[in-house]
Amino acid sequence: MIADNVWLDAFVRLLAVLGLAILVVLVLTYVERKFIGRVQMRLGPMRTGPYGILQSLADTIKLVVKEDLRPASADRWLFELAPIAAFVPAFAVLVALPFTDSWGVRVLNLGLFYVVAVSGLSVLGYIMAGWASDNKYALLGAMRSAAQLISYEIPLVVTILALAMVARSLNLVQIVEAQGRVPFIVWQPLGFFIFMAGMLAETSRRPFDIPSAESEIVGGPWIEYSGIRWSILFAFTEYSTMFGLSVFGALIFLGGWNWPLGLDLGWWWQLILIFVKTTFLIMMTLWMSATFPRLRIDQLMSFCWKLLLPMAFVQIFFNGLILVYKWPDWVLFLTSGGALVLMTFLIYDATRVRAPARAAPREAIP
């Protein structure tokens, strides 16, 4: 309890999480631009402040001051409410996430279920935006995002279900404690892979940025948005979801605040550990989004329904066997790892290509 009054307490906690969300969005936009700039042999933002650290602030000011345009033929209420409908679920995910063993807005007994259920609701905002904009690109983008987000929800849920079977709890704090010194990524590598694929799809990052595909439908649902509404719909939703799911992944797969230094640490160590693990997942996402081309919608669908979903069920099946017959933990690793190898081979076999010529070393400019 931060304050005595229940309502005041809840209010203060929510305010703290909202502040966290805004901070995360500001930092992540800067980190993404810097990181992808480095990947592309650029410097990224350098002019606003030392090393461009004020760039997100400058962007925010620009976006807030910009005119909030609405097409004359747009459905007014849907158009104006869509950014909020998209952002609220992304924000609500953060409410249920514990950051240390005692820090969190509300630790729910059904935390795992809550996070998965709520994070999928953003699609409503995208469909609202796409329909209300009265624009064909936006409509196409909305249809694509509906198909994509709903499809990828299923393997994500199934693989998290398999994980909950091993952890024997849906409470996020108990899941972290159940991992002890060895995180679930070791016992469930296939689950981690499916989770990463699902997370990329849920956050619409490359190679799954099909709803917003800039070279095809030029931004998709948010093509008609500008100024503050665009930043809520696009930047806030996307980065909050990315941060929320990364924290979630760090909790359930990377051992949260525990591993590897032991269980009885002070809260500052726990905060640092969870921060490092979250950053690791976010950087993985950014790395992939800097180098991967975009998939096509039918490839995306067949990847989900023909590969991820059966594999997620395979995972549940093996986990069930292991739990029923009380086999030791390393069998978990064997079955899951074996399934991951099989899946990697299937992907490799479907898309095999020739090897490139070895490059010669560079010389200096004469």
Partner: protein, 374 residues
């Protein structure tokens, strides 16, 4: 109660207007796609947004001034376009070109083929959805060659360096050294692009089998260059009817098998390697000597007659049809541009694929709008 009749819902194809302002159109090209869900059922290309009357303008300029028009027509491979034009004028005027100039021209034209293909690789990566990484990779390498162009001609884009009878002025002293270094860099750079795109499963699955066109159809549509060679026909004007001094070099003509987007990409990638080979051979053989013929008139006049000169440009067969009725200006100049023919086959390649593939196919034929609309 009667049995309810089952009837299908009536559906309409949506017309989606892509361009003239659209990131995937590489300029001001517009195509109207009729889509059924995500499938393209019809495509209508609209061209003419960049029409500047280049052919008519050339008729009002004298033979040397019209070189500038060629630069602005095919702006990504200006040396190649210039080369084709000046060769047409030389043929008409009966000018002899000194050896050294021939070598300089071939080296620059082949380097320009490499920069043009780099531009394609970068833009194509962006079309398929790489967030600018292929683009910056391609542009870094392109910049090395662009520096050489700037050192030689003084310009980065509209060079205006070739002249009927030779080149405008001699190359700098360290030219050979610089070109050798650039060749070395380009080999490395091609490997980088190859690793980034060819080895990427997503890239391959996006381009394999997309936009395929049969060899017969390709010939009927008048396709040329890498797009035709990707269909499996081993035809290259540098080999078929060697112009300039191309018969002196040893190079391969890469071909594809299926004529799809991946083959077009792969043919271009291999062409870059072959261009490096040609440049390396040319730089070894390049002699010293004059760069312009001794008896070059101050005002170039062509005898009455007509000539058609065609050359293998990065995008395909680039042709100049020149009519002279005497005097110092062309009576008629007609440009046969490869991109124009390729665009006409766009519908054939795209219909039946997904909306996302329309962008990939358009990228794979590598159009330059300045050359399409002229």
């Amino acid at each position: 109660m009667t049995v309810e009749q089952e009837h299908e819902l009536e559906t309409l194809a949506i017309d989606v207007n892509v361009g003239p302002q659209h990131p995937a159109t590489h300029g001001v090209f517009r195509m109207v796609l009729a889509i059924d869900g995500e499938k393209v059922v019809d495509l209508v290309p609209h061209i003419g947004y960049l029409h500047r009357g280049a052919e008519k303008l050339s008729e009002n300029l004298d033979y040397r001034q019209a070189i500038g028009i060629q630069d602005r027509t095919e702006y990504l491979a200006a040396f190649n376009a210039e080369l084709c034009y000046v060769m047409a004028v030389e043929k008409l005027a009966g000018l002899e070109v000194p050896e050294r100039s021939e070598y300089i021209r071939v080296i620059l034209a082949e380097l320009n083929r490499i920069t043009s293909h780099y531009m394609f690789m970068g833009a194509y990566g962006t079309d398929i959805g790489v967030y600018g990484t292929a683009f910056t990779y391609g542009f870094r390498e392109r910049e090395y060659i662009q520096d050489v162009f700037e050192e030689v001609s003084g310009d980065r884009m509209m060079y205006g360096y070739f002249r009927p009878g030779g080149v405008a002025w001699d190359v700098p002293e360290n030219f050979k050294e610089r070109v050798r270094w650039v060749c070395q860099q380009t080999r490395v750079g091609i490997g980088d692009i190859d690793g980034l795109l060819t080895r990427n499963e997503v890239f391959v699955s996006r381009t394999r089998g997309i936009g395929a066109i049969s060899l017969e159809k390709a010939v009927d549509y008048g396709l040329s260059g890498p797009v035709l060679r990707a269909c499996g026909l081993k035809v290259d004007l540098r080999r078929e009817e060697p112009y300039s001094i191309y018969d002196r070099f040893d190079f391969d003509i890469p071909t594809g098998e299926r004529g799809d987007c991946f083959d077009r990409y792969a043919v271009r990638l291999e062409e870059m390697r072959q261009s490096v080979r040609i440049v390396e051979q040319a730089i070894e053989q390049m002699p010293e000597g004059p760069i312009l013929p001794e008896k070059l008139p101050r005002r170039l006049r062509c005898p009455p007659g007509e000539v058609y000169m065609r050359a293998e440009n990065p995008r395909g067969e680039y042709g100049i049809y020149l009519v002279s009725k005497g005097g110092d200006k062309p009576y008629r100049l007609k440009i046969r541009s490869p991109s124009y023919c390729h665009l006409m086959a766009l519908k054939e390649m795209t219909v039946g694929h997904y909306l996302a593939d329309a962008v990939v196919v358009l990228g794979s034929i590598d159009i330059v709008l300045g050359e399409v609309d002229r």
